[in-house]
Protein backbone atom coordinates (compact mmCIF):
# COMPACT_ATOMS: atom_id res chain seq x y z
CA UNK A 1 0.00 0.00 0.00
CA UNK A 2 2.83 2.38 0.82
CA UNK A 3 3.93 2.63 -2.77
CA UNK A 4 0.54 4.06 -3.78
CA UNK A 5 1.07 6.93 -1.32
CA UNK A 6 4.57 7.46 -2.69
CA UNK A 7 3.22 7.63 -6.23
CA UNK A 8 0.55 10.17 -5.21
CA UNK A 9 3.12 12.35 -3.46
CA UNK A 10 5.46 12.19 -6.44
CA UNK A 11 2.66 13.16 -8.84
CA UNK A 12 1.75 16.11 -6.61
CA UNK A 13 5.37 17.25 -6.44
CA UNK A 14 5.79 17.03 -10.21
CA UNK A 15 2.51 18.88 -10.78
CA UNK A 16 3.56 21.64 -8.38
CA UNK A 17 6.91 21.91 -10.09
CA UNK A 18 5.32 22.26 -13.52
CA UNK A 19 2.88 24.88 -12.21
CA UNK A 20 5.65 26.96 -10.68
CA UNK A 21 7.83 26.65 -13.76
CA UNK A 22 5.00 27.76 -16.03
CA UNK A 23 4.17 30.55 -13.63
CA UNK A 24 7.66 31.99 -13.68
CA UNK A 25 8.10 31.48 -17.41
CA UNK A 26 4.93 33.48 -18.10
CA UNK A 27 5.86 36.10 -15.55
CA UNK A 28 9.24 36.69 -17.17
CA UNK A 29 7.75 36.86 -20.65
CA UNK A 30 5.11 39.32 -19.50
CA UNK A 31 7.71 41.55 -17.89
CA UNK A 32 9.81 41.56 -21.02
CA UNK A 33 6.83 42.51 -23.15
CA UNK A 34 6.12 45.34 -20.78
CA UNK A 35 9.65 46.60 -21.21
CA UNK A 36 9.50 46.39 -25.02
CA UNK A 37 6.13 48.10 -25.03
CA UNK A 38 7.53 50.80 -22.77
CA UNK A 39 10.35 51.40 -25.23
CA UNK A 40 7.90 51.72 -28.13
CA UNK A 41 5.82 54.19 -26.10
CA UNK A 42 8.77 56.52 -25.71
CA UNK A 43 9.29 56.51 -29.43
CA UNK A 44 5.61 57.30 -30.11
CA UNK A 45 5.76 60.35 -27.85
CA UNK A 46 9.01 61.60 -29.34
CA UNK A 47 7.52 61.42 -32.82
CA UNK A 48 4.38 63.23 -31.68
CA UNK A 49 6.46 66.06 -30.32
CA UNK A 50 8.43 66.32 -33.55
CA UNK A 51 5.13 66.54 -35.44
CA UNK A 52 3.88 69.45 -33.35
CA UNK A 53 6.90 71.59 -34.12
CA UNK A 54 6.09 72.72 -37.72
CA UNK A 55 2.65 73.86 -36.52
CA UNK A 56 4.28 75.81 -33.73
CA UNK A 57 6.74 77.42 -36.14
CA UNK A 58 3.92 78.55 -38.44
CA UNK A 59 2.00 80.17 -35.58
CA UNK A 60 5.02 81.85 -34.09
CA UNK A 61 7.02 83.16 -37.04
CA UNK A 62 4.53 85.93 -37.86
CA UNK A 63 4.93 87.38 -34.37
CA UNK A 64 8.57 86.68 -33.65
CA UNK A 65 10.05 88.04 -36.89
CA UNK A 66 13.16 89.33 -35.14
CA UNK A 67 14.01 86.22 -33.22
CA UNK A 68 15.62 84.34 -36.09
CA UNK A 69 18.22 82.57 -33.98
CA UNK A 70 15.71 81.23 -31.48
CA UNK A 71 13.50 79.86 -34.25
CA UNK A 72 16.43 78.37 -36.12
CA UNK A 73 17.62 76.50 -33.03
CA UNK A 74 14.26 74.80 -32.74
CA UNK A 75 14.23 73.82 -36.41
CA UNK A 76 17.82 72.53 -36.20
CA UNK A 77 17.04 70.48 -33.10
CA UNK A 78 14.01 68.97 -34.77
CA UNK A 79 16.07 67.87 -37.78
CA UNK A 80 18.61 66.32 -35.46
CA UNK A 81 15.81 64.34 -33.80
CA UNK A 82 14.47 63.10 -37.14
CA UNK A 83 17.89 61.89 -38.25
CA UNK A 84 19.03 60.38 -34.95
CA UNK A 85 19.87 56.70 -35.25
CA UNK A 86 21.22 55.37 -31.97
CA UNK A 87 19.38 55.67 -28.65
CA UNK A 88 22.12 57.97 -27.43
CA UNK A 89 21.77 60.29 -30.46
CA UNK A 90 18.05 60.23 -29.82
CA UNK A 91 18.44 61.37 -26.24
CA UNK A 92 20.95 64.07 -27.17
CA UNK A 93 18.73 65.46 -29.92
CA UNK A 94 15.79 65.34 -27.56
CA UNK A 95 17.72 67.37 -25.01
CA UNK A 96 18.64 69.92 -27.63
CA UNK A 97 15.00 70.29 -28.65
CA UNK A 98 13.85 70.66 -25.05
CA UNK A 99 16.38 73.42 -24.47
CA UNK A 100 15.50 75.22 -27.72
CA UNK A 101 11.78 75.09 -26.92
CA UNK A 102 12.39 76.35 -23.43
CA UNK A 103 14.18 79.39 -24.84
CA UNK A 104 11.44 79.96 -27.39
CA UNK A 105 8.69 79.97 -24.76
CA UNK A 106 10.74 82.23 -22.51
CA UNK A 107 11.22 84.72 -25.35
CA UNK A 108 7.51 84.46 -26.24
CA UNK A 109 6.78 86.09 -22.88
CA UNK A 110 7.78 89.39 -24.49
CA UNK A 111 5.10 89.14 -27.14
CA UNK A 112 1.67 89.68 -25.52
CA UNK A 113 -0.11 89.35 -28.87
CA UNK A 114 1.45 85.94 -29.37
CA UNK A 115 0.55 84.87 -25.84
CA UNK A 116 -3.08 85.78 -26.50
CA UNK A 117 -3.16 83.71 -29.67
CA UNK A 118 -5.41 80.69 -29.08
CA UNK A 119 -3.43 78.54 -31.41
CA UNK A 120 -0.23 79.31 -29.57
CA UNK A 121 -1.77 78.53 -26.17
CA UNK A 122 -3.17 75.30 -27.47
CA UNK A 123 0.18 74.27 -28.94
CA UNK A 124 1.93 75.15 -25.70
CA UNK A 125 -0.46 72.89 -23.78
CA UNK A 126 0.09 70.09 -26.30
CA UNK A 127 3.86 70.39 -26.10
CA UNK A 128 3.82 70.37 -22.31
CA UNK A 129 1.59 67.32 -22.45
CA UNK A 130 3.90 65.53 -24.88
CA UNK A 131 7.04 66.35 -22.93
CA UNK A 132 5.49 65.06 -19.72
CA UNK A 133 4.45 61.90 -21.52
CA UNK A 134 8.01 61.42 -22.76
CA UNK A 135 9.36 61.83 -19.25
CA UNK A 136 6.81 59.43 -17.76
CA UNK A 137 7.32 56.90 -20.55
CA UNK A 138 11.01 56.85 -19.71
CA UNK A 139 10.20 56.54 -16.02
CA UNK A 140 7.83 53.65 -16.68
CA UNK A 141 10.42 51.97 -18.88
CA UNK A 142 13.00 52.19 -16.11
CA UNK A 143 10.46 50.97 -13.53
CA UNK A 144 9.67 47.94 -15.71
CA UNK A 145 13.36 47.21 -16.13
CA UNK A 146 13.89 47.47 -12.37
CA UNK A 147 11.11 45.00 -11.59
CA UNK A 148 12.41 42.62 -14.27
CA UNK A 149 16.00 42.80 -13.06
CA UNK A 150 14.90 42.27 -9.46
CA UNK A 151 12.93 39.19 -10.46
CA UNK A 152 15.69 37.55 -12.44
CA UNK A 153 18.47 38.42 -10.05
CA UNK A 154 16.86 37.02 -6.90
CA UNK A 155 15.76 33.51 -6.01
CA UNK A 156 13.88 31.64 -7.40
CA UNK A 157 13.59 33.83 -10.53
CA UNK A 158 17.36 33.58 -10.95
CA UNK A 159 17.13 29.87 -11.64
CA UNK A 160 14.36 30.20 -14.23
CA UNK A 161 16.02 33.11 -15.97
CA UNK A 162 19.21 31.10 -16.42
CA UNK A 163 17.24 28.23 -17.93
CA UNK A 164 15.55 30.65 -20.31
CA UNK A 165 18.78 32.40 -21.15
CA UNK A 166 17.55 35.81 -20.03
CA UNK A 167 19.92 38.57 -19.06
CA UNK A 168 19.40 41.73 -17.08
CA UNK A 169 18.31 44.77 -19.04
CA UNK A 170 19.75 48.23 -18.96
CA UNK A 171 17.89 51.24 -17.75
CA UNK A 172 17.82 54.48 -19.66
CA UNK A 173 20.43 56.90 -18.47
CA UNK A 174 19.04 60.39 -18.60
CA UNK A 175 22.04 62.70 -19.07
CA UNK A 176 22.71 65.52 -16.62
CA UNK A 177 21.53 68.27 -18.96
CA UNK A 178 18.04 66.81 -18.99
CA UNK A 179 17.91 66.83 -15.22
CA UNK A 180 18.38 70.58 -15.21
CA UNK A 181 15.05 70.84 -16.99
CA UNK A 182 12.22 70.22 -14.52
CA UNK A 183 10.18 67.25 -15.56
CA UNK A 184 6.87 68.98 -15.04
CA UNK A 185 6.72 72.28 -16.83
CA UNK A 186 3.59 74.28 -16.32
Amino acid sequence: MWYIWLAVILVIIVALFILIYVGYYNKIIRMENRIDNGWAQIDVQLKRRAELIPNLMETVKGYMKHEKEVLENVTKARSALMTAKTPQENINADNMLTGALKTLFAVAENYPDLKANQNFLSLQDELTNTENKIAYSRQHFNDSVLVFNNTIETFPGLWFARRMGRKTREMLQIPETDRAVPKVKF
Binding site: Q41, L121, D125, N129, Y136, Q139, H140, V184, F186
Partner: protein, 303 residues
Protein backbone atom coordinates in the same frame (compact mmCIF):
# COMPACT_ATOMS: atom_id res chain seq x y z
CA UNK B 1 17.58 56.66 -5.04
CA UNK B 2 17.20 57.38 -1.34
CA UNK B 3 13.84 59.03 -1.73
CA UNK B 4 12.40 56.24 -3.80
CA UNK B 5 13.29 53.57 -1.26
CA UNK B 6 11.45 55.41 1.47
CA UNK B 7 8.30 55.60 -0.62
CA UNK B 8 8.60 51.90 -1.39
CA UNK B 9 8.86 51.17 2.33
CA UNK B 10 5.61 53.05 2.84
CA UNK B 11 4.00 51.01 0.09
CA UNK B 12 5.24 47.74 1.53
CA UNK B 13 4.09 48.60 5.03
CA UNK B 14 0.64 49.68 3.88
CA UNK B 15 0.19 46.51 1.86
CA UNK B 16 1.16 44.36 4.82
CA UNK B 17 -1.26 46.12 7.13
CA UNK B 18 -4.06 45.62 4.62
CA UNK B 19 -3.43 41.88 4.63
CA UNK B 20 -3.52 41.79 8.42
CA UNK B 21 -6.81 43.65 8.59
CA UNK B 22 -8.35 41.55 5.82
CA UNK B 23 -7.29 38.48 7.76
CA UNK B 24 -9.19 39.78 10.78
CA UNK B 25 -12.25 40.28 8.62
CA UNK B 26 -12.00 36.75 7.34
CA UNK B 27 -11.72 35.41 10.88
CA UNK B 28 -14.78 37.37 11.86
CA UNK B 29 -16.69 35.88 8.97
CA UNK B 30 -15.63 32.38 9.99
CA UNK B 31 -16.69 33.13 13.57
CA UNK B 32 -20.13 34.20 12.44
CA UNK B 33 -20.55 31.09 10.32
CA UNK B 34 -19.53 28.99 13.28
CA UNK B 35 -22.14 30.66 15.47
CA UNK B 36 -24.76 30.17 12.78
CA UNK B 37 -23.86 26.50 12.53
CA UNK B 38 -24.10 26.10 16.25
CA UNK B 39 -27.62 27.42 16.49
CA UNK B 40 -29.38 26.69 13.28
CA UNK B 41 -27.86 23.43 12.34
CA UNK B 42 -26.94 21.85 15.65
CA UNK B 43 -23.25 22.42 15.18
CA UNK B 44 -22.97 21.18 11.60
CA UNK B 45 -20.43 23.43 9.91
CA UNK B 46 -20.98 22.29 6.34
CA UNK B 47 -24.66 23.03 6.30
CA UNK B 48 -24.14 26.43 7.82
CA UNK B 49 -21.47 27.19 5.21
CA UNK B 50 -23.87 26.12 2.47
CA UNK B 51 -26.33 28.55 3.98
CA UNK B 52 -24.05 31.52 4.59
CA UNK B 53 -21.82 31.39 1.53
CA UNK B 54 -24.47 31.83 -1.18
CA UNK B 55 -25.86 34.82 0.71
CA UNK B 56 -22.43 36.39 0.98
CA UNK B 57 -21.40 35.69 -2.61
CA UNK B 58 -24.73 36.80 -4.05
CA UNK B 59 -24.63 40.04 -2.08
CA UNK B 60 -21.08 40.81 -3.20
CA UNK B 61 -21.73 39.94 -6.85
CA UNK B 62 -24.82 42.12 -7.14
CA UNK B 63 -23.30 45.12 -5.42
CA UNK B 64 -20.18 44.81 -7.56
CA UNK B 65 -21.98 44.63 -10.87
CA UNK B 66 -24.00 47.76 -10.40
CA UNK B 67 -21.27 49.84 -8.80
CA UNK B 68 -20.05 52.10 -11.62
CA UNK B 69 -23.23 53.62 -13.04
CA UNK B 70 -24.59 53.95 -9.50
CA UNK B 71 -21.65 56.00 -8.31
CA UNK B 72 -21.52 58.23 -11.37
CA UNK B 73 -25.23 58.91 -11.19
CA UNK B 74 -25.09 59.71 -7.49
CA UNK B 75 -22.33 62.22 -8.13
CA UNK B 76 -24.14 63.68 -11.20
CA UNK B 77 -20.86 63.46 -13.08
CA UNK B 78 -20.43 64.28 -16.77
CA UNK B 79 -17.62 63.43 -19.21
CA UNK B 80 -14.83 66.02 -19.34
CA UNK B 81 -15.09 68.50 -22.20
CA UNK B 82 -11.85 68.86 -24.18
CA UNK B 83 -12.95 72.26 -25.50
CA UNK B 84 -12.80 73.72 -22.02
CA UNK B 85 -9.15 74.47 -21.25
CA UNK B 86 -9.26 73.47 -17.57
CA UNK B 87 -10.97 70.19 -18.42
CA UNK B 88 -8.58 69.59 -21.31
CA UNK B 89 -5.66 69.99 -18.93
CA UNK B 90 -7.33 67.49 -16.58
CA UNK B 91 -7.49 65.00 -19.44
CA UNK B 92 -3.79 65.62 -20.14
CA UNK B 93 -2.88 64.91 -16.51
CA UNK B 94 -4.88 61.65 -16.56
CA UNK B 95 -3.13 60.63 -19.80
CA UNK B 96 0.28 61.27 -18.27
CA UNK B 97 -0.50 59.35 -15.10
CA UNK B 98 -1.76 56.35 -17.07
CA UNK B 99 1.58 56.22 -18.85
CA UNK B 100 3.49 56.50 -15.58
CA UNK B 101 1.38 53.72 -14.08
CA UNK B 102 1.53 51.55 -17.20
CA UNK B 103 -2.26 51.31 -17.25
CA UNK B 104 -4.92 51.83 -19.91
CA UNK B 105 -6.35 55.30 -19.67
CA UNK B 106 -9.51 55.66 -17.58
CA UNK B 107 -12.45 57.74 -18.78
CA UNK B 108 -12.35 61.27 -17.41
CA UNK B 109 -15.43 62.76 -15.78
CA UNK B 110 -16.15 66.06 -14.10
CA UNK B 111 -18.44 66.80 -11.18
CA UNK B 112 -19.85 70.30 -10.80
CA UNK B 113 -18.93 71.38 -7.31
CA UNK B 114 -17.04 74.35 -5.89
CA UNK B 115 -15.17 72.10 -3.44
CA UNK B 116 -11.89 70.39 -4.26
CA UNK B 117 -12.37 66.66 -4.55
CA UNK B 118 -11.83 63.69 -6.84
CA UNK B 119 -12.75 60.05 -6.98
CA UNK B 120 -12.09 56.91 -8.97
CA UNK B 121 -14.41 54.05 -9.73
CA UNK B 122 -14.60 51.03 -12.01
CA UNK B 123 -14.72 47.27 -12.03
CA UNK B 124 -11.25 46.78 -13.43
CA UNK B 125 -8.41 48.96 -14.73
CA UNK B 126 -9.55 48.59 -18.36
CA UNK B 127 -12.95 49.91 -17.47
CA UNK B 128 -12.44 52.64 -14.94
CA UNK B 129 -13.34 56.26 -14.43
CA UNK B 130 -11.59 59.14 -12.75
CA UNK B 131 -13.69 62.14 -11.80
CA UNK B 132 -12.61 65.52 -10.45
CA UNK B 133 -14.74 68.44 -9.29
CA UNK B 134 -14.80 71.72 -11.19
CA UNK B 135 -13.60 73.27 -7.94
CA UNK B 136 -10.53 71.02 -8.02
CA UNK B 137 -9.47 71.87 -11.56
CA UNK B 138 -9.98 75.54 -10.91
CA UNK B 139 -8.35 75.85 -7.50
CA UNK B 140 -5.39 73.47 -7.82
CA UNK B 141 -2.31 74.25 -9.87
CA UNK B 142 -1.13 71.60 -12.31
CA UNK B 143 1.45 70.13 -9.95
CA UNK B 144 -1.17 69.65 -7.23
CA UNK B 145 -3.75 68.33 -9.68
CA UNK B 146 -1.17 65.84 -10.90
CA UNK B 147 -0.69 64.63 -7.31
CA UNK B 148 -4.43 64.15 -6.84
CA UNK B 149 -4.79 62.28 -10.13
CA UNK B 150 -1.82 60.07 -9.22
CA UNK B 151 -3.58 59.21 -5.93
CA UNK B 152 -6.78 58.25 -7.75
CA UNK B 153 -4.84 56.30 -10.39
CA UNK B 154 -3.19 54.35 -7.59
CA UNK B 155 -6.59 53.41 -6.18
CA UNK B 156 -7.42 51.87 -9.55
CA UNK B 157 -4.03 50.20 -9.92
CA UNK B 158 -4.16 48.69 -6.44
CA UNK B 159 -7.64 47.34 -7.08
CA UNK B 160 -8.98 49.38 -4.17
CA UNK B 161 -12.39 49.74 -5.72
CA UNK B 162 -12.71 45.98 -5.87
CA UNK B 163 -11.45 45.61 -2.31
CA UNK B 164 -13.76 48.34 -1.01
CA UNK B 165 -16.83 46.93 -2.75
CA UNK B 166 -16.15 43.36 -1.64
CA UNK B 167 -15.41 44.43 1.94
CA UNK B 168 -18.56 46.55 2.19
CA UNK B 169 -20.58 43.67 0.80
CA UNK B 170 -19.02 41.24 3.30
CA UNK B 171 -19.92 43.65 6.10
CA UNK B 172 -23.45 43.74 4.75
CA UNK B 173 -23.56 39.98 4.52
CA UNK B 174 -22.31 39.54 8.08
CA UNK B 175 -24.95 41.96 9.33
CA UNK B 176 -27.63 40.20 7.34
CA UNK B 177 -26.66 36.77 8.64
CA UNK B 178 -26.47 38.08 12.19
CA UNK B 179 -29.96 39.51 11.87
CA UNK B 180 -31.33 36.27 10.50
CA UNK B 181 -29.70 34.44 13.39
CA UNK B 182 -31.13 36.85 15.91
CA UNK B 183 -34.69 36.51 14.71
CA UNK B 184 -34.51 32.75 14.31
CA UNK B 185 -33.29 32.49 17.90
CA UNK B 186 -36.07 34.78 19.07
CA UNK B 187 -38.74 32.64 17.50
CA UNK B 188 -37.16 29.19 17.39
CA UNK B 189 -35.93 29.28 20.97
CA UNK B 190 -32.36 28.76 22.04
CA UNK B 191 -32.95 25.17 22.98
CA UNK B 192 -31.73 23.72 19.68
CA UNK B 193 -28.12 24.03 20.56
CA UNK B 194 -28.52 22.60 24.01
CA UNK B 195 -28.52 19.04 22.82
CA UNK B 196 -25.16 18.39 24.33
CA UNK B 197 -25.90 19.60 27.85
CA UNK B 198 -25.06 22.41 30.27
CA UNK B 199 -21.38 22.88 29.52
CA UNK B 200 -22.52 24.46 26.27
CA UNK B 201 -24.19 27.37 28.04
CA UNK B 202 -20.92 29.30 27.90
CA UNK B 203 -20.49 28.60 24.21
CA UNK B 204 -24.08 29.66 23.67
CA UNK B 205 -23.49 32.97 25.40
CA UNK B 206 -20.33 33.51 23.39
CA UNK B 207 -22.20 32.77 20.19
CA UNK B 208 -24.94 35.25 21.08
CA UNK B 209 -22.39 37.91 21.91
CA UNK B 210 -20.62 37.24 18.62
CA UNK B 211 -23.84 37.55 16.65
CA UNK B 212 -24.69 40.86 18.26
CA UNK B 213 -21.22 42.32 18.03
CA UNK B 214 -20.19 40.93 14.65
CA UNK B 215 -21.76 43.64 12.51
CA UNK B 216 -20.10 46.25 14.71
CA UNK B 217 -16.67 44.67 14.42
CA UNK B 218 -17.13 44.13 10.71
CA UNK B 219 -17.81 47.81 10.21
CA UNK B 220 -14.79 48.82 12.31
CA UNK B 221 -12.58 46.41 10.36
CA UNK B 222 -13.83 47.77 7.06
CA UNK B 223 -13.03 51.32 8.18
CA UNK B 224 -9.53 50.25 9.19
CA UNK B 225 -9.01 48.66 5.77
CA UNK B 226 -10.27 51.84 4.11
CA UNK B 227 -7.78 54.00 6.01
CA UNK B 228 -4.88 51.68 5.12
CA UNK B 229 -5.77 51.84 1.45
CA UNK B 230 -5.85 55.63 1.58
CA UNK B 231 -2.30 55.72 2.93
CA UNK B 232 -1.29 53.22 0.28
CA UNK B 233 -2.83 55.36 -2.47
CA UNK B 234 -0.93 58.37 -1.10
CA UNK B 235 2.41 56.54 -1.20
CA UNK B 236 1.78 54.83 -4.56
CA UNK B 237 0.74 58.15 -6.04
CA UNK B 238 3.89 59.81 -4.72
CA UNK B 239 5.93 57.02 -6.31
CA UNK B 240 4.25 57.62 -9.67
CA UNK B 241 4.99 61.34 -9.74
CA UNK B 242 8.30 61.07 -7.80
CA UNK B 243 6.95 64.22 -6.16
CA UNK B 244 5.13 63.75 -2.82
CA UNK B 245 4.92 67.53 -2.38
CA UNK B 246 2.40 67.88 -5.18
CA UNK B 247 -0.21 65.85 -3.32
CA UNK B 248 0.85 67.37 0.03
CA UNK B 249 0.15 70.87 -1.29
CA UNK B 250 -3.18 69.74 -2.73
CA UNK B 251 -4.15 68.29 0.67
CA UNK B 252 -3.24 71.60 2.32
CA UNK B 253 -5.63 73.36 -0.02
CA UNK B 254 -8.31 70.74 0.62
CA UNK B 255 -7.85 71.30 4.34
CA UNK B 256 -8.75 74.98 3.94
CA UNK B 257 -11.50 74.19 1.55
CA UNK B 258 -13.83 71.84 3.38
CA UNK B 259 -17.59 72.44 3.13
CA UNK B 260 -19.48 73.81 6.08
CA UNK B 261 -22.70 71.99 5.27
CA UNK B 262 -23.17 68.29 4.59
CA UNK B 263 -23.78 67.40 0.96
CA UNK B 264 -26.66 65.12 0.07
CA UNK B 265 -26.19 61.58 -1.07
CA UNK B 266 -25.37 58.14 0.11
CA UNK B 267 -22.45 57.83 2.46
CA UNK B 268 -21.24 54.60 0.94
CA UNK B 269 -19.49 56.47 -1.86
CA UNK B 270 -17.35 58.35 0.66
CA UNK B 271 -14.27 56.10 0.61
CA UNK B 272 -13.77 56.59 -3.10
CA UNK B 273 -13.18 60.31 -2.70
CA UNK B 274 -9.78 61.72 -1.90
CA UNK B 275 -11.29 63.51 1.07
CA UNK B 276 -14.46 62.41 2.81
CA UNK B 277 -17.06 64.98 1.77
CA UNK B 278 -19.29 64.03 4.67
CA UNK B 279 -16.96 64.74 7.53
CA UNK B 280 -14.52 67.20 9.03
CA UNK B 281 -11.09 66.65 7.53
CA UNK B 282 -9.30 65.91 10.72
CA UNK B 283 -11.90 63.61 12.21
CA UNK B 284 -9.89 60.59 13.13
CA UNK B 285 -10.20 57.48 15.17
CA UNK B 286 -11.94 54.25 14.50
CA UNK B 287 -14.98 55.63 12.71
CA UNK B 288 -13.37 57.39 9.75
CA UNK B 289 -12.97 56.09 6.22
CA UNK B 290 -10.05 58.45 5.68
CA UNK B 291 -7.00 59.04 7.87
CA UNK B 292 -6.69 62.52 9.40
CA UNK B 293 -5.47 64.97 6.80
CA UNK B 294 -2.62 66.35 8.91
CA UNK B 295 -1.16 62.88 9.27
CA UNK B 296 -1.39 62.29 5.53
CA UNK B 297 0.40 65.57 4.83
CA UNK B 298 3.07 64.75 7.38
CA UNK B 299 3.79 61.34 5.85
CA UNK B 300 4.03 62.81 2.38
CA UNK B 301 6.38 65.60 3.42
CA UNK B 302 8.78 63.16 5.04
CA UNK B 303 9.03 60.77 2.11
Amino acid sequence: MEKKLLVEDHIRRNKRNTIIVCGLMALLFVGVIFAVGYFLFAGNIFISLAFALPIAIGYVAITYSISVPTVLKAAKARPANPNNRDEKLLIHRVEEMSIAAGMPMPKVYVQDSEYINAFATGKKPENSVICATTGAIRKLNQEELEGVIAHEMSHIKNHDILIATVTIAVVGAISLIAEIMFYSMLWGGAGRGGRRGEGNAIIMVLAIVLIILAPLFARLTYLAISRRREYLADSSGAYLTRNPNGLAMALEKIKQDHPKTKPKGSKTVAPLYISNPFKQVNASGLWSTHPPIDERIKRLRTM
